[in-house]
């Protein structure tokens, strides 16, 4: 790589008076331009326009639309479907975060042991995370159906009375969405926890074991604080992913039965592309943005404090 660097004649080099200071030429600002322009065109400008449209009655086509102030937002308060969708979104996000990370952590502890199948299991358990979410959701739609494999399995192990249409029951369908996401991404949490566990020097762990510290105590007092960065990343990824969830709901239930599993994201899609209410739809997207921002900011503050306290 350095072979391509031309060595200039000595006269052109920086004067020896203050070589260190002079040599620190800052890279030019225009290096950021390509990235900034792409980002501005695709994200920044459309987002700003989106916030503006949220205060209009735009239908997506008609160039004539009117500013209607906060009406899209006040309408939302009278819209049972929208309030339900916000609630579903929060339930899904919290449930996924707790369950996926709980299981992910247990899996990480399991494959971070001396078991012979540890490498094989790492590869196997992480594999669902690379599969297209819409594909895993269609797969599970069949597994959870009335004649699906889950019911067959229950029949086989003598739990035939539990058999039902898992996605057809409004009380259960939301939890089935959570199940599918957890199945797919528990291995992702595992991989991040595993990286955290492996960065803990074995000696610390062994010293505690020799001192007679029990396994639970060892985990809580030694492993958990050192795992703080992995916990931060995992919580961020799963909660924000859960809040934005769209593909899995779209493919598993389409938001149904009725509106039992509609999330903010599926409602945004339906309102815009089946009802043509772009303004209202974008107002929902603004609500989604506010929720994501509050959660990110809150999580950042809390976890940052914990991480500092732990170190």
């Amino acid at each position: 790589m350095s072979a391509d660097l031309q060595v200039r004649p000595p006269g052109r080099t920086v004067s020896p008076a203050s070589p260190r200071r002079r040599s620190r030429v800052a890279p030019p600002w225009w290096f950021v331009l390509p990235a900034l322009l792409l980002f501005a065109f695709v994200v920044l400008v459309p987002s700003a326009r989106g916030i503006y449209y949220a205060f209009t009655d735009w239908d997506g086509l008609d160039p004539d639309f009117a500013l209607i102030g906060l009406r899209n937002f006040t309408d939302m308060l009278d819209d049972g479907d929208a309030l339900q969708a916000v609630w579903h979104t929060l339930v899904i996000a919290v449930a996924i975060t707790v369950i996926q990370n709980g299981i992910g952590l247990l899996l990480a502890l399991g494959v971070n042991s001396m078991i012979k199948t540890r490498n094989f299991l790492r590869v196997l358990l992480f594999a669902p995370a690379v599969i297209t979410p819409i594909v895993t959701a269609y797969l599970w739609r069949n597994l959870l159906g009335p004649d699906g494999a889950v019911n067959s399995l229950l029949g086989m192990v003598g739990l035939g009375s539990w058999r039902q249409d898992w996605l057809g029951d409004p009380d259960l369908a939301l939890w089935m969405v959570v199940l599918v996401v957890v199945w797919q991404f528990a291995g992702y949490s595992m991989v991040i926890f595993l990286a955290g566990l492996q960065s803990i020097p074995r000696e610390i762990y062994e010293a505690a074991a020799i001192d007679g510290t029990g396994a639970v105590r060892r985990f809580w007092s030694i492993v958990r604080p050192l795992l703080a960065p992995a916990i931060t990343i995992n919580l961020m990824l799963s909660i924000i992913g859960g809040i934005k969830l769209f593909d899995q709901v779209y493919a598993l239930t389409g938001g149904g039965p009725g509106h039992a599993t509609d999330t903010i994201s599926t409602l945004i899609y339906k309102d815009a592309f089946t009802l043509g209410e772009f303004g209202y739809s974008i107002a929902l997207a603004v609500v989604l943005t506010v929720i994501v921002s509050i959660v990110s900011a809150g999580q950042f503050v809390v976890l940052n404090r914990n991480e500092k306290a732990a170190s």
Binding site: S2, P27, P34, P46, S152, L153, I268
Partner: protein
């Protein structure tokens, strides 16, 4: 501590059982994809007379060939662009402490919070006005911009932890900023580039919402959209659908198994960024 004890054996059994539970859906996927539609036995009992007919049928009907080509094209081009522009931008953003540099970095990081739903509807209008609806190039443009914040975040974090000595030495030797970037900075960024490549490629390849908006009603498809359209068309012909699902995940799983170490490290690598 490092011996294989009775407790280790118990743990091994538990973990293998967990592995079987996780693999169960994939077993059913394969089991039903090779089953003749006339065979109505339980989905969990092994298929007795397997057939490849579902695969040929699904391949023909779902247009998966064209969709695979499109997905490969969109993923390759957009990920290449986003890695190139983000690495280039990260260089001054990580090294300069000037006010414009901090401000620009924060502005780009704003993109980590903004959900794409907010931008995607107004952008849909722009893309329509530009006549790019139904073109895979609209997707390339979209991902190239959408993935900038995350990729820049990874690069800036990584670069800040690297010493400047090599860059300083290069500039003492008279290398210009672009040469320094190309021959000094870029090679040092290799580990984080692998991470960024893996995460971006998986995100772009798997995305469904964007092509659903921008390609709907056209004959252009990516793999996720082709699969969704196929499921909508063959609602209850699950043997055919499962064959299509299996075809769509085989390329992904093949790449994953071939590069498992880099890919798993790539996903875990965000931790160090």
């Amino acid at each position: 501590m490092n011996r294989y004890t009775k407790r280790t054996f118990l743990l091994e059994m538990v973990m293998v059982a967990v592995g079987i539970v996780f693999a169960f859906p994939v077993y059913v996927l394969v089991n039903l994809a090779i089953r003749q539609p006339s065979d109505t036995s339980s989905p969990i009992s092994p298929t007795t007379s397997p057939t490849f007919g579902n695969f040929t049928g699904a391949w023909r009907e779902a247009g998966l060939g064209g969709a695979l080509v499109n997905s490969v094209l969109v993923t390759t081009v957009s990920v290449f662009i986003v890695l190139a522009v983000s690495a280039l931008a990260a260089y001054p953003l990580a090294r300069s402490t000037a006010r414009w540099s901090r401000g620009t970095f924060l502005l780009i990081m704003l993109g980590l919070i903004l959900p794409f739903q907010l931008a995607s509807l107004p952008l849909y209008q722009t893309v329509r006005d530009l006549g790019l609806l139904g073109s895979v190039w609209s997707l390339v443009l979209f991902y190239a911009g959408l993935q900038v914040p995350f990729t820049t975040f990874l690069y800036v974090g990584f670069l800040r932890a690297l010493p400047r000595d090599f860059e300083d030495a290069a500039s003492i030797d008279g290398a210009g900023p672009f040469k320094t970037f190309r021959y000094i900075v870029l090679p040092m960024l290799k580990p984080i580039t692998v991470t960024a490549l893996v995460l971006n490629a998986v995100a772009v390849w798997n995305d469904f919402f964007t092509p659903l908006l921008y390609l709907s009603g056209s004959d252009q498809q990516t793999v996720p959209v082709a699969v969704a359209g196929f499921v909508g068309q063959f609602v209850s012909d699950w043997n055919l659908i499962f064959a299509a699902l299996l075809i769509s995940i085989v390329p992904v799983l093949a790449v994953y198994l071939a590069l498992q170490r880099s890919i798993i490290n790539g996903f875990a690598g965000g931790l160090k960024g």
